[in-house]
Structures are given as C-alpha cells and as structure tokens.
C-alpha cells in the first residue's frame, strides 16, 4: 500500500499518466479554458485525493479522466498506457448525486446488474451482483427500490454498482459530500476496506480537507481559474487508518494544516487578482 517513491515508476505501473492535460469548452462568447495544462500521474492501487477551490476544475479533471469530456489536442492522457477516447474499460465514475445516478425504476439488485447484463446471465449474474452487494453490506435490501433507502445506503448502491464491474479505477466525485458526518465516516472506512480487498485505484474529489488526508496516499490541490496544480502532498500515515487514532497523529494534523493552507492561499490569491 505504501507508495515507493525512491524507485522510478514504470509506465506499466501507472493507472493514468497525463501530460499537458487541459480542457477547453467552446461557448457563444468563444473558447473558455477550464483547466490549464497540468502534468501528473497516478500509480496503480493508489488513492489520490483531489481538493481545491471551487471553479478550479476538479470535476472537469475527473470527467476528462473518465472519458466523459474531451481534452485539448495537445493533451496527452493515457489510461493504463492507452490514450483516452471515451470512457476507458474498467474505469468507473461514482457521482455525487446518487439520487439521479441510480435508476429509480430498477430494484437495487437490477441497478447493480446494469453494467453486467450484457456479459453475464442467470446464476453467474446473480452471484456477481450479490458479492458486490456484500462488499457494501446491502444484500438484505437487494429487492427494494433505491429511493426507499437513506442517502448513505443509496450511495453504497452506487459504489456496489461500480464495484460489480471489477473496476481497475474508481473516479469518485465528492461521493460523500451530501451525507451527514457519521454516515460519511462509516462510508470512508468501508471505501478503504473495499480498496484494500480489491486493490482498485481511486481518485477521490472532495471539498473536505480532512477527508482528503484521511483517505489519500497523496493529496493533490488545484487552484485558480482556470485551475492548475498548486500543491502535491505525500501522505505517510499508517494503514489501516482509524477515524480517531489516525486523526490524532501529529503527521495527520501537519498534513491537514498544509493542505488547508494551500487551498486558502489559492483562494486569497484568486481574490486579490480580481
């Protein structure tokens, strides 16, 4: 789990490698840049937290990695060594708005089956759906409609639906942003446990600095409009992490301080430029 920074990383060890990644949209007023060219890479099996001021392009970056929006022509973005053209195989997005991401006319079981139905049928399909539901502890509720569940459980359904695809990468866009603090903490721990079991790479956007440090192997801070990378922090905290003990460690407090500061500084710089 602990990232090996002393050894040079091989291309094949990278889930993503991005050079000059930038995103522009064409509006009626002309071309608008959402993300300045940035360089970074993500190791396989790593949890990368992304924080940043609003408007810095966190979601834009994630959607570009998920192949949902195009990057500019001179961007070089590789997912597992292959240039991204549309959503890459086994790279799954988990959206913040679980209510509009689950299909309300399908039961939880059938929601989780959404991506599997073309490849598997009958017993094999049910087995895979149920083991995904087991990962998030929702097997008992499998035949209910998602809107009958609490927000935290609906978000678990969405995570299970992605996990059923045996993803190599999960791209999570503020997935716990709309949940209360206690539900949020328990989902953080479930996510860490699932990541340990599956070894999936996770890129996790959050506006919560503490969450970013708690989950991540690294924290990447974006700032400015259009956004660019303003800080990358290595998180050398022992795993498994613990909601109480990890958060009391001096190193945790130092990292939280540093991450918070970089975001606040970026915010202040932005205001003084205006």
């Amino acid at each position: 789990m602990e990232p090996q920074r002393t050894q040079p990383t091989m291309q094949s060890d990278l889930a993503f490698s991005c050079q000059n990644l930038s995103v522009e949209v064409t509006t009626k007023e002309g071309v608008k840049r959402l993300l300045d060219p940035i360089d970074f890479s993500v190791r396989k099996g790593e949890i990368l937290s992304i924080i940043g001021t609003s408007g810095a392009g966190k979601t834009t970056l994630l959607r570009a990695l998920g192949g949902l929006i195009p990057t500019t022509e001179n961007s070089e973005v590789l997912a597992d060594g292959v240039p991204i053209q549309g959503p890459p195989d086994r790279v799954l997005m988990v959206f913040q708005d679980y209510a509009s991401s689950l299909l309300p006319w399908r039961t939880i079981r059938k929601n989780v089956a959404l991506g599997l139905e073309t490849q598997y049928r009958g017993k094999e399909l049910q087995k895979r759906v149920e083991s995904a539901l087991d990962l998030v502890g929702l097997r008992k509720r499998a035949d209910e409609y998602p809107w009958r569940l609490s927000g935290g459980m609906q978000q678990r359904v969405q995570i299970a639906r992605a996990l059923a695809m045996e993803p190599s990468v999960l791209l999570m866009d503020e997935p716990f942003g709309a949940l209360d603090a206690i539900t949020k903490n328990s989902l953080q721990d479930e996510l860490l446990r699932v990541q340990e079991q599956t070894g999936a790479t996770i890129i996790f956007i959050t506006h919560d600095v503490e969450e970013a440090v708690y989950l991540g192997d690294r924290v990447l801070a974006l700032g400015g409009i259009p956004g660019r990378i303003i800080e990358v922090l290595d998180v050398d905290l022992p795993r498994p992490r613990h909601q109480i003990y990890t958060k009391e460690l001096p190193e945790f407090l130092r990292l939280r301080h540093r991450a918070y500061e970089s975001v606040v500084e970026a915010e202040l710089r932005l205001r003084s430029e205006e």
Binding site: G86, W105, R106, L138, Y145, E190
Partner: protein, 276 residues
C-alpha cells in the same frame, strides 16, 4: 455498522385490493342520483326539449339496438379501428420520438416542421382524408393513426429530451451500447411521459374514429349516431352517444391496468414521484 446506521423506512403493506373496495362508491352514488333527477324531471314535464329522452326510454332503445345486433357491430368496428390505429401510432410515435429526441442533428432539421404540423387540430384533416381515401374504413384508420401518432411522438420526444444528464453520464461510464442505452436507460427514464402520450393518443384515437364515422365512413358508433339523429330517434341516438363515452372509459382503464402490470418499476417510481 451498515445495519445500525440503516434508516429503515416502514414499508406500507401492499395488500391487494378487491374490486369491490376499488369501486368509487361515492362517485357512483352521485351519478345515480343525477340520472334519477333527470328521469323525474322528464316525467314531470320540466324538460322542454323534444328530443331529450328519459333514461328509461334509452334503456328501451338499447334493448332494441342490441336485439338488431347493430350496437354490437358498431362498438366492434369503432373499438377495432381505434385500437389498431392507436397501436400503429404507438410504434411510429415511440420510434420517431426517440430518434428525434436523441439526434440533435435530425432535431435541428425537423423541429420547425414538428411544431407547425402538431399545432393543426387533427380533426381538420378529416375532410382532406375523405377526399384522398373516400368514404371508407381506410380513411378512418388513416385519420386515427395520424392524430394519435402526434400525441405519442411529441410526448416521447419530450420524455427523451428531459432524461437527466446524470443518467446519460451513467450510461456512458458503464459503456452501454447505443441500443442498450436506449432500452435500459432512455426509454424507461422517459416512460412516464411516454405513458401520458399513449393515454392521450388512445383518447384521441377514439375521438377521431367517431368523427371520421360521422363525416365519412358509413360504419361504427359515429355513423349510428348520425343515422339515428337524422331518423329523429333520440332514444336510439343517445345509446350510441353513451356507448362512445363508456368505450373511452373502458379502453383507458384497460390500458392503465396493462401498464401497471407490465411495468411495475416504472409505475412504482412514478407513484413515488407524485407523492414527493
């Protein structure tokens, strides 16, 4: 952890209601009272119109028509044409509506034509159809299909256009093929709108079938209505009149039953949408 944090929402017991408790007794009582009032007023001579028969006279007319067999065949004809026409309209409307809803390019070229054509009241096409197809059942069918197709098409189109961007993103991240995207995400998401279109289409199919029979095709309830009116037989005319209404209610009820049986998830999601 999962279970202790779970907020268990009490599930309302899904008891099957018997048809007796499903009947709207209070509504039926009011209707019966109104009919009784009509009967009493007519007998007392309070109704001045010559050609408004008492409900009891209509029952006599109905018995006559049933004995001749003309009521059964008229209902059969009108219901048949309305249903066949409506089914054709459903296929055309859903397919075209989906294509126009998905493809921005096609929509850009066709939006103006759709807006212009749909705003013509379908009934204005009846004389034109008579000119083209003569006094025939073919004419009636064409008119029914044309009118019902617009209802289905426009509502399908709107349903597809209003599928949330969130669901579109889900379809993409799960790499659903275009066809699977349509069948598993877009059509179910648009279903509540499409169902509105199907119901409006069915109502209109019946209206236009009767209108075409009144104006042109010598068959069905509309034709019966005309013949009895011209023969100054109000008891018999009112039987056709009421049959049209009852047929409409019956067809609508059947459609609703089929939808709730065939699409339980969509019905459940729609009911929840109405409550919130």
């Amino acid at each position: 952890m999962t279970e202790t944090l779970a907020i268990h929402i009490a599930r309302s017991p899904a008891k099957k209601k018997s048809w007796i408790s499903r009947l709207n007794w209070t509504g039926a009582a009011t209707l019966t009272l109104l009919l009784l009032l009509w009967e009493v007023l007519d007998r007392a001579g309070a109704i001045q119109f010559n050609f408004i028969p008492a409900p009891s006279d209509m029952i006599g007319g109905a018995v006559e028509l049933l004995r001749e067999g003309s009521l059964q065949s008229a209902i059969g004809h009108t219901a048949g044409v309305a249903l066949i026409g409506w089914l054709i309209a459903c296929v055309i409307g859903v397919v075209l509506g989906t294509i126009l809803g998905i493809s921005r390019t096609i929509w850009r070229w066709t939006a103006a034509s759709v807006e212009v054509l749909r705003s013509f009241p379908s009934i204005t096409f009846v004389p034109l159809a008579v000119l083209l197809f003569g006094f025939s059942s073919a004419m009636e069918l064409v008119v029914v299909v044309y009118a019902a197709t617009w209802q289905v098409l426009v509502n399908t189109l709107e349903g597809v256009h209003t599928v949330s961007p969130g669901l579109r993103d889900v379809a993409r991240t799960f790499r659903l093929s275009p066809l699977r995207n349509i069948t598993t995400v877009i059509l179910p998401a648009a279903a509540s709108k499409i169902i509105v279109g199907l119901r409006l289409g069915l109502n209109l199919a019946l209206i236009l079938a009767v209108a075409a029979e009144v104006v042109g095709n010598p068959a069905g309830l509309g034709y019966g209505l005309m013949v009895e009116q011209q023969a100054l037989q109000p008891e018999r005319m009112f039987v056709y009149f009421i049959s049209v209404g009852l047929l409409g209610i019956f067809l609508n009820a059947i459609l609703q039953l089929i939808i709730s049986r065939a699409l339980p998830g969509i019905t459940a999601a729609a009911e929840r949408g109405q409550k919130s």
